[in-house]
Amino acid sequence: MAERVSVRHADFDLSAEVAALRSADAGVGAVAAFVGTVRDLGDGAAITGLELEHYPGMTEAAIEAMIDAAQQRFDIRAARVVHRVGPLRLGEQIVLVAVTAAHRGQAFQACEFLMDYLKTQAPFWKKELGAAGPRWVDARSSDDAALERWGLRSGNAA
């Protein structure tokens, strides 16, 4: 089985990741992919970049469990999550979630489920860098609410 999770400093190539995910599987009829990027505005203030920290080993295990949950909940063929850590500049890619399925509905839903899950359950922490100095990003209750749409309680931002 191909590696499902990669947490790393290096950037990723969306086309190459999708091609690898759907290769040698003639049952794939749909691919849904989400890419998160570094934007120039944090919590009301301009930022110049991010630093991302994670818990090595624990983070990968948590995402593996999320993919298992997605495969139990949705009729999908495969999933791949790439999440970068370390310093990132404006415009750089942060995260990729890609899902293959026979049909688009399951692929879309599983991709969104995985992102909602990851935002509130995977041990990553973002620090925003800007003119006012570095600032750890606060968890958002809206992300907890997004996960609750799937019937899962989070409480991450509580």
């Binding site: 920290e53 995260v95 992102m115 935002k119 995977a122 990553f124 973002k126 968890a139 931002a157």
Partner: protein, 59 residues
């Protein structure tokens, strides 16, 4: 009673406040709650900081 050494790791804002990790001696049958209380009482800690993980903010 037999003792065990527990290694506690901190991340993100907690790591900056408390350091990356610390070791603390605990009785072998200690609960997580007892560990939390011991950490709160430790002179190396500021009692108001008891969480090991701050809320996560990836993605």
């Amino acid at each position: 009673m037999k003792a065990m050494k527990v290694h506690v790791r901190y991340f993100a804002s907690l790591r900056e406040a408390l350091g990356a990790q610390q070791a603390i001696e605990m009785p072998a049958d200690s609960t997580l709650g007892a560990l939390r209380d011991a950490l709160a009482a430790s002179s190396a800690l500021h009692g108001e900081l008891l969480a090991f993980f701050p809320p996560v903010t990836g993605g």
